[in-house]
């Protein structure tokens, strides 16, 4: 029997009127407000709940919340839990409910059920918990919490668990509706927020937005930003439920990035700045941002071990030992668990399937960088052994593994087809032992072929990695000419025109070139010796790659092995764990990357500046290209403006402190320090501006900043009364008092400046917002 209806389980409980009507199925619960215009539905998922439902066909009561703003219900009634089942909303241990079901995915099955299980650093948990608690119960709290971080770092899971802990109920989550009849997609989110406002009192919930509206569409983005802005600036006396938005920041590599006229926008930079826009982010003190880091190795290993122990029948512990670190390296717990499950179930079944080799390097997760290092290691060190399967796979192509081909001229492919005498069919079966062949040559050849067969190679990255690491081979003790050969090849490949090059050719050249160059060196008999001057040299007069200074401390002639290797007593111990007889240094990451990162950072800063200009002023700067912005304003202006804005806020903050606590005339020493710092900064700023060729007039005047700096200049160090007066004037000029600062000096934003974990700005002092707004209006 087949029928179409909505799926019965929790996962599918977002419904649309249209869909219900179209499919003609009757939802199991009545929707009292079904035909009201602005029915907003969302649903709450709780991961553990979800896990407990997996694989069960039993109909669960719909656990759905309907928000209706048009119903004009009183606030506490506007969210209606239709049929909440108390048992299902509590976090039952998932292992008991779903272990019977083979279909469950471990990611769900082992999703943490309590905040203590979550693989996030305890300090981060505490931070989020504190913020959420204050958002829930304090007066004038920040209204928005933005969580950013890489995928799989536990952002939304943590919010869901904290919701259980603090409110013992699931979060209210925004899910994009698939079809809405009466509202457009553009407005859907703001309608949702309008309705969510009433989640108070008994219905108090944490509102989670993970599935952002389609902000790649300009009007939707504007509507989204406007809705968030409105949320932040709703009447300050009203308390609003905490709104949490999770975001995975990402840069999209596209052609636009390399274009100087490209804008800083959402199509290439999915980040807090582009998603929320300038206006929202200026609302300091009203939102908080917490940045998550990739899950660290210890926590990840702990979690994975727990899962492994639970499924010990699937795993071979010896193999696991070498497999786990690979998973851990990704920092993405979801991907790691998924890979572990895939790997585990594959390993346990693999022996039942014919023709499966014992490959350890089959990784299912996203760990391209690991693969790459693995490949680089293979290219540079070579390999003592090759997978027998690979050897067999390429055996016919291996040079030397040939039974004197009948017609030598006819082989062009490296592939020889043999006609077996018994029948006329072709066969490729030949055991590698048919004829002895040069194992080393074969290994090398097969190695190159296996490397080239994997398609994960990014040529540019590969070249950079080789460039960084070629010298580690045998601790650089090989001929300079070999190194120059490698470099020649790398630079040749680098000059290939990138847009149309036959990548295969270039990659082949890099891989084979490096491998062959390095391999040959040790296969020749060479003797190195330390000459009287304390320098290493080769008998044939060729120089060694290794720079001599580092070897100068070895002042004795060492007995040298043939085969181009020599034994350095300092290295002997360190390489004892290395299987190979050669001594190698460690692989490193290309330093070019740092430069690229820095350059990208700078580019982003300038682009952001450009973007800000276009948002805040009606001048022509907005339409300037990247290059022009860079030329007219330079990188420094972006930095200066950032600082100015920031310090301006601090200034307002300190002034506020005086005002509140009536410190006039008696500044505590800590405040004094801040003032010193500020005046220092203003000198610094003037210096910088001078260096750039004076005050920049094109950016709409420096009025506010100017005021601050002149004020700071005039300010006698101890003349706090005057400072206070200045502040009054300043306030009179730029806005009315807005006095609900409750910040502590310890939380002064200046201290937060370099803090990686907390880049939100606007921490704990809500007063700065007023200042900065006026500050920026003048730009």
């Amino acid at each position: 029997m087949k029928y179409i209806s909505l799926d019965s389980d929790e996962g599918d409980s977002i419904i649309d009127d249209s869909l219900i009507e179209e499919t003609g199925s009757v939802p199991p619960v009545n929707h009292p407000k079904k035909h009201s215009k602005t029915i907003k539905r969302t649903r709450s998922i709780n991961l553990s709940e979800l896990a407990s439902h997996i694989g069960t066909t039993e109909k669960k009561p719909r656990h759905e919340k309907i928000l209706s703003s048009s119903s004009k219900l009183s606030a506490n009634l506007s969210i209606k839990s239709v049929s909440p089942s108390p048992s299902s909303s509590s976090s039952s241990p998932p292992s008991s409910s779903s272990s019977s079901s083979p279909s469950s995915s471990w990611v769900d099955k082992y999703s943490p059920t309590s905040i203590n299980d979550i693989a996030v650093h305890p300090r981060k948990i505490k931070e989020v918990r504190t913020k959420l608690t204050s958002m829930l119960y304090h007066d004038y709290p920040p209204r928005l919490l933005i969580l950013t971080g890489p995928s799989g770092s536990g952002k939304s899971t943590m919010v869901k668990l904290l919701s259980q802990e603090l409110l013992s109920k699931p979060v209210l989550e925004w899910i994009n509706p698939s079809t809405i009849k009466n509202t457009s997609h553009v407005d859907a989110f703001s309608e949702f927020l309008k309705a969510a406002k009433y989640c108070q009192g008994q219905n108090l919930s944490i509102i989670l937005v993970e599935d952002l509206p389609f902000i790649f569409h300009e009007p939707t983005k504007d509507a989204f930003q406007a809705a968030v802005y409105q949320w932040l600036h709703y009447d300050p006396l009203t308390t609003l439920p905490p709104l949490v938005i999770c975001l995975t920041e990402e840069n999209f590599e596209n052609d636009k990035n390399n274009n100087n006229f490209a804008s800083w926008d959402i199509t290439n930079n999915f980040s807090v700045d582009t998603v929320f826009g300038h206006k929202v982010l200026q609302s300091h003190g009203k939102y908080q941002q917490i940045k998550f880091n990739p899950v660290n190795a210890t926590l990840m290993t702990k979690t994975l071990k727990r899962i492994v122990n639970d499924n010990s029948q699937l795993f071979n512990h010896h193999q696991l030992k070498s497999y786990l670190p690979k998973l851990v390296a990704s920092g993405d717990i979801r991907s790691a668990i998924l890979s572990l499950q895939c790997w585990g179930s594959w390993r346990s079944k693999a022996h039942q399937l014919p023709g499966v080799t014992d490959s350890m390097y089959l990784v299912f997760g996203k760990d391209v960088s690991f693969d790459l290092f693995h490949i680089i290691g293979k290219i540079i060190y070579g390999s003592q052994k090759v997978q027998p399967a690979d050897l067999l796979r390429y055996s016919e192509e291996i040079p030397g593994n040939r039974q004197s081909p009948p017609d030598k001229k006819n082989c062009f492919n490296g592939l020889y087809l043999k006609k077996s005498s018994s029948d006329n069919s072709l066969s490729l079966k030949s055991s590698p032992t048919d004829q002895p062949y040069n194992i080393k040559l074969a290994t090398n050849y097969v190695l190159c072929n296996t490397i080239l067969a994997s398609n994960t190679l990014d040529l540019r990255l590969l070249s950079l990695l080789i460039l960084e690491n070629y010298a580690i081979y045998n601790c650089s003790h090989y001929k300079l000419s070999k190194a120059s050969k490698i470099l020649k090849i790398l630079s040749l490949v680098d000059t290939f025109p990138k847009w149309q090059v036959d990548l295969e050719v270039a990659t082949d050249l890099v891989v084979r070139g490096t491998r062959i160059s390095l391999e040959q060196d040790i296969s020749k008999n060479q003797v190195m010796y330390l000459d009287n001057l304390g320098k290493w040299s080769l008998i044939n007069g060729e120089k060694l790659l290794k720079n001599e200074e580092s070897l100068r401390n070895d002042d004795k002639k060492f007995p040298l092995k043939s085969q181009g290797q020599f034994v350095n007593p300092h290295q002997k111990s360190s390489t004892s764990n290395h299987r190979s007889s050669n001594h190698h240094d460690k692989l490193g990451f290309p330093r070019d990357f740092k430069l690229m990162k820095k350059s990208r950072h700078t580019k982003d800063a300038v682009n952001f500046h450009r973007y800000q200009k276009s948002q805040t002023s009606s001048s022509t700067i907005g339409i300037l290209s990247f290059n022009d912005t860079n030329l007219y304003h330079g990188y420094y202006e972006a930095v200066i403006n950032q600082q100015k804005q920031f310090k301006g806020k601090s200034y307002g903050y300190i002034a506020q402190q005086f005002k509140d606590k009536n410190y006039a005339g008696h500044p505590p020493s800590r405040l004094q320090n801040k003032i010193d710092e500020l005046s220092q900064w203003s000198t610094q700023k003037n210096l910088l501006i001078k260096r750039l060729g004076g005050e920049i007039n094109s950016n709409g005047g420096d009025q506010a900043g100017g005021t601050v700096s002149t004020m700071m200049g005039d300010l006698g160090r101890n003349n706090i009364a005057e400072y206070y007066k200045n502040y009054e004037i300043y306030q009179g000029n730029f806005g009315e008092e807005n006095d609900y600062s409750e910040g502590e000096l310890e939380d002064d934003p200046i201290d937060d400046d370099g803090d990686d974990d907390n880049v939100g700005g606007g921490d704990n002092w809500s007063d700065g917002e007023m200042m900065s707004d006026s500050d920026l209006d003048n730009f």
Partner: protein, 321 residues
């Protein structure tokens, strides 16, 4: 009059129906076999070069998992379908919400072929959908580069990387097809097919069919006529001659190719592939030759595709020895 029978492309006709027929990547395929047996398919991303069986293996997997309910429980969208935000929002979501009776451990499958051509926006819209409906619907992405898929989706998927097919694997399948189609062939013909396919099974079988329909007999000459590449044997003798220092002979071979109208880029790329297999020249020498070919390759790509460049290449090679 007998009805005109249009033959299916062999690529389609001999597309594997079950996983065990899929050629190459034994380890990765074995993983899919385990899934086919156990059910509970995770979201997967299969990445790899064209013609190595990505889409085929997803289809096989879906067939083996779902059996007769394939037609109703699989939604396939490829690059030619509209995959904008509307499709993600409506078509995919509605399919995910659709109720299909399936045995436990089986899920509806949404196949997104050539997923790297989806915009980041559409992919973003997909990520939550994947999670919400994951207990009824699983996604399978096929793409050339897994890095083109956004992080949040990668994080939710098992990523399977397919590597290029080895020549022996292609030969194996070619022999099967020739046997079934009763094609007459010579060994050098198959060699030529494999050489020109460069690890792309689709190409190999297409070339086989073209050769058969064009000439009826698969031998070297016919294959190279069909694929229109310079004959590797000529290239080979050209390079060997240059390597031995007999530049006249080498140039004579080049003239032979030139008169047939092959462009320098054809000659250079084929040379590169020939030189890789030219094992009687020692490795160091071969590397030097590869480098020289690389330089010429670059110049040709820059637009200097003249006879002089190729002749210069041969001169440099003969100068090496």
């Amino acid at each position: 009059m007998p009805p005109l029978i249009l033959e299916l492309p062999w690529v389609e006709k001999y597309r594997p129906k079950v996983l065990k027929d899929v050629v190459g990547n034994p380890d990765t395929i074995s993983r899919l076999k385990v899934i086919a047996k156990d059910g509970n398919m995770p979201h997967v991303i299969i990445s790899g070069l064209p013609g190595i069986g990505k889409t085929t293996s997803i289809h096989c997997l879906a067939h083996e998992l779902l059996g007769t309910s394939y037609s109703e429980a699989v939604l396939e969208l490829n690059a030619s379908d509209d995959r904008g935000i509307d499709v993600v929002r409506n078509k995919i979501k509605q399919f995910a919400q659709k109720k299909v009776q399936l045995p436990p451990g089986r899920h509806k499958i949404i196949i997104l072929d050539e997923a790297d051509s989806m915009t980041p926006g559409a992919q973003q819209a997909l990520r939550r959908t994947m999670e919400i409906y994951s207990n009824t619907t699983r996604f399978a992405f096929a793409c050339n580069q897994s890095s083109k898929i956004i992080e949040p989706i990668q994080s939710r998927c098992a990523i399977l990387r397919y590597s290029r097919l080895a020549d022996a694997e292609i030969l194996h399948r070619l022999l099967e097809v020739t046997a079934m189609e009763k094609v007459e062939y010579s060994n050098d013909g198959l060699q030529a097919l494999i050489f020109t396919a460069e690890g792309d099974m689709r190409q190999a079988i297409n070339n086989l069919q073209s050769t058969v329909s064009g000439f009826g007999f698969v031998n070297e000459q016919n294959v190279f006529k069909v694929v229109d590449q310079p004959h590797p044997l000529v290239i080979r003798s050209m390079l060997v001659a240059a390597n031995n220092g007999s530049i006249e002979e080498s140039i004579a071979q080049l003239d032979k190719l030139w008169k047939k109208g092959y462009s320098p880029i054809d000659i250079v790329t084929t040379s590169f592939r020939v030189i890789k297999g030219l094992v009687e020249i020692n490795e160091e020498k071969r590397l030097e030759m590869m480098k020289e070919i690389g330089i010429t390759h670059m110049r040709v790509l820059e637009g200097v595709s003249s006879y002089l460049q190729i002749a210069g290449l041969l001169a440099r090679i003969s100068d090496l020895s």
